[in-house]
Symmetry: C2
Subunit: 207 residues, 2 copies
């Protein structure tokens, strides 16, 4: 029998200690730090220390929504899967993804847009205030359009699309809006990171 | 209206071209390269070029299982969520995760082990041959134990646990076994990467 730490909570605690040791200097508040550390924990990648952008007031806005019980829109099933369901239900929050619904596929086809874009339109129609993007730049561009048209009024955005085409640009565009948000700058990001950010916020009020 | 590429297939194609341009020199076969590129595409992180390890014959073993229709065990719901379901069903393959089943929680509690470990035991009992780990080092250690005890006979393993405690060690340990595998060396990895590796393999026989 090999010897290894078997308690998930012990693993997480030790992991956060190592991250703290290796991060070196930083300029985060305690709450910001818990977001950044969880992203590093999720990726094994210390570079996130430099590319997580947390707008002033964003954590307060997110926590206000989570405390009142909000619907969290995610652009992928993978981001939805990564969000801690026990904690989510403790907070009386729920997740909507929309992207794999048949009606969304039909709307996307009819309009000649991506399913991700159609899903954002649907979320806006349903009055969602908490938006999480871990994959689709097109969805983030679409949200910005809907904000500029006065149709969408997001109260908190996680902008973490990943990749080489449009991802970085989509995050730069959303940052131009004067809204509470946490983004990952540059090409990096992903559904796992988007979920980690949401979890770190939920844990601030439940742990 | 902002101008941006809206077709997911065009985004993917252009993304792979950029990755190819930026990767510089490499020593991968065409099939290996399609695994590595998809991992980079999923993370926005070119460093994966250096840390994806593909054992000789591993791709053949994986494709053989996928072609006959196999059960893919994943250690997280997030990895399961990231695997392309349309392609999966086209191949008559299915996914089992086990980790959130009540019986697994009970076994884990009774035995004082992680749910991830109990889930691997269950998968081995059920005769799973295709194992995918994107998160839990304990699950990968457990699989190695079961192989050494002659209980488990995996025919293909994706070893991509992520993090600062046990992840790197778990991958080193599994690499000591003479089995077909793809691993991510070092601390990096994750459920998104595990799913991307599986998708890249499925696409080799369906696209």
């Amino acid at each position: 029998m090999m010897d290894y730490i078997k308690s998930p909570m012990d693993i997480e605690k030790r992991s956060f200690e190592i991250i703290e040791e290796e991060m070196g200097k930083y300029d985060f508040s305690e709450r910001e730090l818990s977001v950044v550390k969880r992203v590093i924990h999720t990726t094994g990648d210390l570079q996130y220390k430099e590319i997580v952008y947390i707008r002033e007031g964003a954590i307060d806005s997110a926590l206000k929504l989570l405390k009142k019980g909000t619907t969290i829109y995610t652009d992928t099933n993978m981001a939805a899967a990564g969000i801690n369901k026990k904690v989510l239900s403790k907070l009386n929050c729920k997740i909507e993804c929309f992207v794999n619904r048949e009606e969304i596929a039909k709307i996307a086809k009819d309009k000649g847009i991506t399913r991700s874009m159609a899903a954002v339109e649907k979320a806006v129609e349903e009055g969602v205030e908490f938006f999480v993007f871990g994959n689709a730049p097109t969805a983030l561009f679409k949200l910005k359009e809907l904000v500029l048209q006065g149709k969408a009024k997001p109260k908190f955005i996680v902008g973490a699309p990943v990749g080489f085409v449009g991802a970085e640009e989509s995050k730069k565009e959303i940052e131009k809006l004067n809204l509470p948000m946490i983004t990952i700058r540059g090409r990096k990001g992903g559904s796992n990171i988007a979920a980690a950010i949401v979890n770190s916020l939920m844990y601030m009020i439940t742990r």
